[in-house]
C-alpha cells in the first residue's frame, strides 16, 4: 500500500543493541543476582534427601489443601523420583521460585501504586494487556540479547510474562476494599502506611494471593518454554522428547510438570483462605 516499510524491526534491534552495550554493567548485575538466587534455591532443594523434601512438601500441601490433595502430591513426588526426573524437577522449581521472588518484589508495589493512582493505572493497564497478549516466545529474544543463553534469560522472560496478573489483582483487591473501611481508618487518624498495612493489604489478601497463584502458574508454563534457550529443568526434558520424537520420555516430563503445577497451585490457593474463619 505504501512505498516504504515501517522499520519496526530495525528500531527494536538498534535499541536492544544500544542498551546491551551501554548498560552491560546493569545487565551483568541483574544476571549475577538471578544466578545467585536460582543456584541457592536449587542447591537448597537438592541438598535435602528426596524423602525429606517429599515429606515437607506433603505436610505443606496437607496444611493448605487437606488430606486428599496431600496424598496426590506425595504420590506424584514419589513417581517423579522414581522415573529419574528428580533433579530436573527441582531445577524447574528453583526457576519458578526465583522468578516469583522478582514478580512479588516488583508486582506488589506496582499493584499498590496502581491502586492509589488512577493516572498510573491508566498508563500501566495497556502495558499489561500488551505483555499478556504478546506471544510468550517473543520475550525470549530480547532476554537472550541482554543476558545471553542459559537460565538467566529464562528467569527474566518468566518474570516479564508472569508479573501482569499480580499487578492487576493487587490493584483490583485494594480497590475493592469497602470505602467505609477506608473512611473508618481515616476517621481514627490513620496514616497512609497504617491504612495500607492494617486495612487495605489484609482485606485484599485473598485477591492478592489469587494473583500470586496465577503468576506462579504462568511462570511455570513459561519456564518450560524457556528451556528452548537453555534454561534447563523439566522443560529441557520435554524438549528432548520432542526433538527425538520419543513420546514416552516427553510424556514423563510433561507428567512431572503437571505434578509440580498441582502442588504449587494448591499450596498458593490455600494461602488466600488461611485467615478466613470457618
Amino acid at each position: 500500500m505504501f512505498p516504504f516499510r515501517i522499520p519496526i524491526r530495525d528500531w527494536i534491534s538498534a535499541a536492544v543493541d544500544y542498551l546491551s552495550t551501554q548498560f552491560s554493567v546493569v545487565f551483568d548485575s541483574i544476571s549475577n543476582l538471578v544466578l545467585f538466587l536460582v543456584d541457592n534455591f536449587k542447591d537448597g532443594l537438592l541438598t535435602l534427601h528426596p524423602l525429606v523434601l517429599i515429606v515437607v512438601l506433603g505436610l505443606i500441601t496437607y496444611r493448605m489443601a487437606g488430606w486428599a490433595t496431600a496424598g496426590v502430591a506425595v504420590a506424584g513426588l514419589f513417581i517423579v523420583e522414581n522415573i529419574g526426573l528428580w533433579v530436573a524437577f527441582n531445577e524447574t522449581l528453583a526457576l519458578v521460585l526465583s522468578a516469583e521472588v522478582f514478580v512479588i518484589a516488583f508486582g506488589l508495589p506496582l499493584g499498590i501504586f496502581a491502586a492509589g493512582s488512577d493516572r498510573f493505572n491508566g498508563i500501566i493497564r495497556p502495558l499489561l494487556d500488551f505483555m499478556q497478549t504478546m506471544p510468550a516466545f517473543v520475550y525470549l529474544i530480547p532476554a537472550i540479547m541482554f543476558f545471553g543463553l542459559g537460565l538467566v534469560p529464562g528467569v527474566i522472560a518468566t518474570f516479564v510474562f508472569a508479573i501482569p496478573p499480580l499487578i492487576r489483582l493487587t490493584n483490583l483487591g485494594i480497590r475493592q476494599v469497602p470505602k467505609e473501611l477506608i473512611e473508618a481508618s481515616d476517621a481514627f487518624g490513620a496514616t497512609r502506611a497504617q491504612k495500607l498495612f492494617k486495612v487495605q493489604m489484609p482485606v485484599a489478601l485473598p485477591t492478592v494471593m489469587a494473583g500470586v497463584n496465577q503468576s506462579i502458574m504462568l511462570g511455570l508454563s513459561m519456564v518450560v518454554i524457556a528451556a528452548m534457550i537453555g534454561a534447563g529443568g523439566l522443560g529441557a526434558e520435554v524438549l528432548r522428547g520432542i526433538q527425538r520424537l520419543e513420546v514416552g520420555q516427553g510424556f514423563e516430563a510433561g507428567l512431572a510438570v503437571v505434578i509440580l503445577a498441582v502442588i504449587l497451585d494448591r499450596i498458593t490457593a490455600g494461602f488466600g483462605q488461611i485467615k478466613k474463619p470457618q
Partner: protein, 416 residues
C-alpha cells in the same frame, strides 16, 4: 464556646465550583445546578453549632447531603467553602499531618450503616483498632478493649470473627471500636439503619443509656424521623443540600417550617416524642386533706368529675377519692359535716413523671381505672392526664400550647 461550629459551610463536587455558587446564590435549586453545570451540590451554606455532650441528629432523605455534612466534620470530604471549628480550632486550615493528629485527639472514629469492621480481625482485634492506630501499646489497648467489650455486652465473643456474628452484634463491635478511643466526638452514619426493627430499638436504647454515662458529643445521621426524634437533643433537617429546619423534636413537630417538614412529621410515631409533661392538663379542682366529706362531695359535684385528687397545702399528692364512694359515705354519716374521709376511701392513683414518654402513659391508661397524676420527684402535683389529651397528641396538627381544657373534655366525650 460550642464544641463544633459549622460556619457557612458548602461542599460542591466537581471542578470550578464557583459556577455552582453563582447559581445557588440566585436561589437556583440543586438539581438545576447539576443539570446545567454538571457539578453536584453536597451541602450549601450550612451553619450549625453543636454543644458538648449533645446528641445532634442530621436528618434527611438520601441525596439530601446529610452524610456529606457529617464527613466534612472530620474532613473526609474537603469543604469547598466555610469554616469548621472544633474545640476552637479551624480544621479547614490544617495540613495533612495536623489533621491526622487532630482526628486522633478529637474523634472517636465513625460508626457505619454496614458496620465497616475488619473481616480478618476478631472482635478484640477490631475493638483495638483505633487504639492501635493511635500507637497505644498492646497491653494497654487490650485492657481498654476488654472494658469496652463488656460495656457493649460482647463478653465471650472476644475471639469470634465478624462473619460469625449477627448484624446487631457486628454493630456493637463498630460502636465499641469508637468508644474504646478516649475522644469526645463520635460520628454515626445511619448506624442502626441496617438492623431489623427490634434490634434497632434495642441499640437506640442502649446508645441513650451509654450516652447518659459517657457524655460524648454524638453527631448522628439518619433518614428515619422516629430515630432522629428519639435520639436527638436537637435535629437538623436537610433537603437538597440545604438546611430547612433545626431545633428540638418538639419544636419541629409543633412548628414545622414548610410543607417538606410537615410531610415528614406526619408519618411520625408521636408516642416517642411527647411526654407526660407536654400533654398534661392543669388540675381544675382538688380536695384538701383537711376538707370534710361534705365539702369534698360538693366540690366533686360542682366540677362534674367522677373522682378527685387529694392534696395538702404544699400540693403534695395524698391520693384520690371516688365520687360514688364519697356520696355513700356522706349518706351514712350525715350527722358529722366536718368528718374527714376515712383512709379506706383514699385510693392511690397512678403517677407519672413529666419526662415519662407518651407510650408509657398510654400503657398506664389502659391498665388503670382512676386518674393519672403527673407529679415531680417530691410527689408534688403538677397536672393530670386526660384521655382526650392523649388522643389529641397523637393527631397530626397537635400543638401543646393551644390545648384548652374544655376543648379537650369535648374530645373525650366524642371519642368515648
Amino acid at each position: 464556646m460550642s464544641k463544633i461550629e459549622i460556619k457557612n459551610v458548602s461542599k460542591i463536587f466537581g471542578p470550578k465550583p464557583e459556577r455552582a455558587f453563582k447559581m445557588l446564590e440566585q436561589g437556583i435549586p440543586k438539581n438545576e445546578v447539576q443539570a446545567k453545570t454538571g457539578l453536584v451540590v453536597g451541602v450549601y451554606d450550612i451553619s450549625i453549632e453543636i454543644e458538648k455532650g449533645e446528641v445532634f441528629v442530621i436528618m434527611g432523605l438520601s441525596g439530601s447531603g446529610k452524610s456529606t455534612l457529617q464527613r466534612l466534620l472530620n474532613r473526609l470530604h474537603e469543604p469547598t467553602r466555610g469554616e469548621i471549628i472544633i474545640d476552637g480550632k479551624d480544621i479547614t486550615k490544617m495540613d495533612h499531618n495536623e489533621l491526622i493528629h487532630f482526628r486522633r485527639k478529637a474523634f472517636s472514629g465513625m460508626v457505619f450503616q454496614n458496620f465497616a469492621i475488619l473481616p480478618h480481625r476478631t472482635v478484640m482485634g477490631n475493638v483495638e483498632f483505633g487504639l492501635e492506630i493511635h500507637g497505644v501499646d498492646k497491653e494497654k489497648r487490650r485492657k481498654r478493649a476488654q472494658e469496652v467489650i463488656e460495656i457493649v455486652g460482647l463478653q465471650g465473643y472476644e475471639n469470634s470473627f465478624p462473619s460469625e456474628l449477627s448484624g446487631g452484634m457486628q454493630q456493637r463491635v463498630g460502636l465499641a471500636r469508637g468508644l474504646a478511643v478516649d475522644a469526645d466526638i463520635l460520628l454515626m452514619d445511619e448506624a442502626f439503619s441496617a438492623l431489623d426493627p427490634l434490634i434497632r430499638r434495642e441499640m437506640q436504647d442502649e446508645l441513650l443509656e451509654l450516652q447518659s454515662r459517657m457524655k460524648k458529643t454524638i453527631v448522628f445521621v439518619t433518614h428515619d424521623l422516629d430515630e432522629a426524634f428519639k435520639l436527638g437533643d436537637r435535629i437538623a433537617i436537610l433537603k437538597d443540600g440545604v438546611m430547612v429546619q433545626m431545633g428540638t423534636a418538639e419544636e419541629i413537630i409543633t412548628n414545622p417550617v414548610d410543607d417538606y417538614v410537615t410531610a415528614f412529621v406526619e408519618g411520625l410515631d408521636r408516642t416517642g416524642v411527647f411526654t407526660a409533661g407536654t400533654i398534661m392538663q392543669p388540675v381544675k379542682a382538688t380536695a384538701h386533706v383537711n376538707d370534710g366529706l361534705h365539702t369534698i362531695l360538693h366540690r366533686i359535684r360542682r366540677a362534674g368529675l367522677s373522682s378527685m385528687l387529694l392534696v395538702d397545702s404544699q400540693r403534695i399528692l395524698h391520693g384520690y377519692l371516688k365520687a360514688g364512694e364519697v356520696a355513700e359515705e356522706v349518706k351514712k354519716e350525715s350527722v358529722d359535716e366536718k368528718k374527714k374521709p376515712h383512709h379506706s376511701l383514699i385510693h392511690s392513683p397512678e403517677t407519672v413523671h413529666p419526662d415519662t414518654h407518651l407510650t408509657e402513659v398510654i400503657n398506664l391508661y389502659s391498665e388503670s381505672t382512676g386518674p393519672i397524676a403527673v407529679v415531680n420527684d417530691n410527689n408534688k402535683l403538677l397536672g393530670v392526664i386526660v384521655r382526650g389529651a392523649i388522643i389529641a397528641a397523637l393527631s397530626k396538627g397537635y400543638k401543646p400550647e393551644d390545648n384548652g381544657y374544655t376543648e379537650q373534655t369535648g374530645t373525650e366525650e366524642k371519642v368515648s
